[in-house]
Amino acid sequence: MGQITLKQITKNFGDVQVIPPLDLQINDGEFVVFVGPSGCGKSTLLRLIAGLEDTTSGEIDIDGRNATEVPPAKRGLAMVFQSYALYPHMTVRKNIAFPLRMAGLDKDAQNAKVESAAEVLNLTDYLDRRPGQLSGGQRQRVAIGRAIVREPDAFLFDEPLSNLDAALRVNMRLEISELHQTLKTTMIYVTHDQVEAMTMADKIVVLQAGVIEQVGTPLELYHTPKNKFVAGFIGSPKMNFLHGSFSAGYSAESIGVRPEHITVSKTEGTWKGVVGVSEHLGSDTFLYVDIEGQKTAITVRSSGEVGVRHGDTVFLTPDPEKIHRFDNQGLRIA
């Protein structure tokens, strides 16, 4: 079981309140991702759940029991750190066995569990090496192994992939998702990368300045963002926002259009503009188009090859069904 409930928790560092009163419900077996720009309090929130930081006020319930004052080791949670936090002087085997050893398990039971974890994570050949002799991805797997053997109620991941290169990151992302499918244990995952959030999460929690902006499934956030912040944060490339005369016709303060919901034409369309930079990825083409009356260039994503060059005049037409309207508070008008 791994149900975690946060009730009105707050956290102050000195006079600075990093987390204003916050409520959150995490259900058993869910893969929850905390996402937000750096400094938004997502890591702090994770550390509060882990017990590495004390809450200033409020209550943390794990499986219905109040765990606010319970020390980290007794909460039944396992954490994977950004720096992996492996013990450099111990072999991989000893690293993975460490929590078991601390729990006072006998040697045979320790070995059995370590070996089965190593098999799951493809670490069997490396059990007698030290962390210093492993690659980044292998170290990451050792850190996950150390978390798995404890058979925790929930896993906590603190930006675990940020130290890996792009290709490895995609692999590890799949491996962690795969692991979640096998173990079906609650996982809480912190990242600033919205792609990781979108691809892995059952439920995304978008945070800004310690405040939860929106909670929902990846597609809910994509299709019906609550406000401009979520709309701009989720989705890649970012949503385009237009004001003034552009939004007037939609009876909104501003409108947002995702780059993939704009069609490009050389002959006719709603907005006329000049192509700036164009990025050709083969599968897609990203165009940055300057249109009159708009300060920032509009990003357009067209699938396949688009035969335009820097300086060409093009016409853009947004898909009227996919336009998001926002009021003067930045909230989305349904």
């Binding site: 590495l52 980290p72 080791a73 936090a85 013990y87 450099p88 002087h89 460490f98 404890r150």
Partner: protein
């Protein structure tokens, strides 16, 4: 830039330092070697010619030799044990966030800046004096008989004085080592269910291993040569005659330069044996 040129320029510019170092070390070393094979008694006839290995045999067969080696090892070992144990404890304490951290750290280093002669005199006269010393007053306050530190517990007293001088050094090196420990490792251990003592034993102590070997290496080399503390306090009496002090006595008190030089050569060999052992330990630690 031709590397040939820069290399010769580098050699040229290093030359003064190298020559100075060589002169500083090679001249006394070769003089010691020369004297050790001679019968040389400055006040009793001067240079009396070559006598082969006689000095070496006499120095070792003297009844004072083995006790002095033993004393040297006890002092070195005692100081190492005290400075490392208390160094670790102090550095953990100093690593805790506290008010006035900067000043406290400077104060901790202070004993290291006091000259050995001065600190030995301060300990001898202000603290350990059986009549006027602070310790004597403390003992009397509890109604106890004051301890005559330098005669009754002479070896321990000297270990105490030298430890006081070297504790800052050990603390400083161990403190920097503790500060370099990744706090996420400690947090991971905490989450893995390790209580504070286990975190110290499994995480902090192994992390400090390298720093500890470096402290042992450097201190041993310097501690083998301590002299001022003994000269000022007991003058080698009450079983505090170390190898260094024995050599001093042979050369200056007995005015036998040849015999003392032979002792010096033994001291060099001893120091090198220890250095080689320690280097191998450090080397092994650096591999890990």
């Amino acid at each position: 830039m031709a590397t040939q040129h820069s290399r010769s320029a580098a050699r040229f510019m290093m030359a003064p330092a190298v020559i100075l170092l060589l002169g500083w070390m090679l001249v006394p070393l070769s003089m010691t070697l020369v004297f050790s094979f001679k019968k040389y008694l400055p006040l009793r006839g001067g240079d009396l010619g070559w006598i082969g290995f006689d000095n070496y045999v006499r120095f070792v067969s003297s009844s004072a030799f083995w006790p002095s080696v033993q004393t040297t090892l006890i002092i070195v070992g005692g100081v190492l044990v005290i400075t490392i144990i208390f160094g670790i404890l102090l550095s953990i304490l100093l690593d805790q966030p506290m008010w006035g951290q900067g000043i406290v750290r400077i104060l901790v280093i202070a004993p290291f800046f006091v000259m050995p002669t001065v600190s030995a005199l301060v300990w001898k006269n202000m603290l350990m004096d059986p009549v006027n010393g602070l310790f004597a007053h403390l003992w009397k306050a509890f109604g106890a008989q004051p301890v005559e530190w330098l005669s009754d517990a002479s070896l321990f007293s000297i270990i105490l004085i030298v430890s006081w001088q070297w504790l800052p050094f050990a603390t400083l090196i161990l403190l920097t080592a503790i500060q370099s420990l990744d706090s996420e490792q400690l947090e991971a251990a905490e989450m893995d269910g390790a209580p504070p003592l286990a975190r110290f034993g499994f995480i902090i102590l192994p992390h400090l291993a390298r720093a500890i070997t470096i402290v042992i290496l450097i201190q041993t080399i310097f501690l083998l040569a301590i002299f001022a503390e003994i000269f000022v306090t007991t003058s080698g009496a009450f079983g505090t005659r170390t190898l260094t002090y024995l050599i001093y006595q042979r050369v200056l008190e007995s005015q036998n330069v040849g015999l003392g030089s032979a002792g010096g050569v033994y001291a060099i060999i001893l120091a090198n044996i220890i250095a080689i052992f320690l280097m191998r330990i450090v080397g092994k630690n650096l591999d890990a």
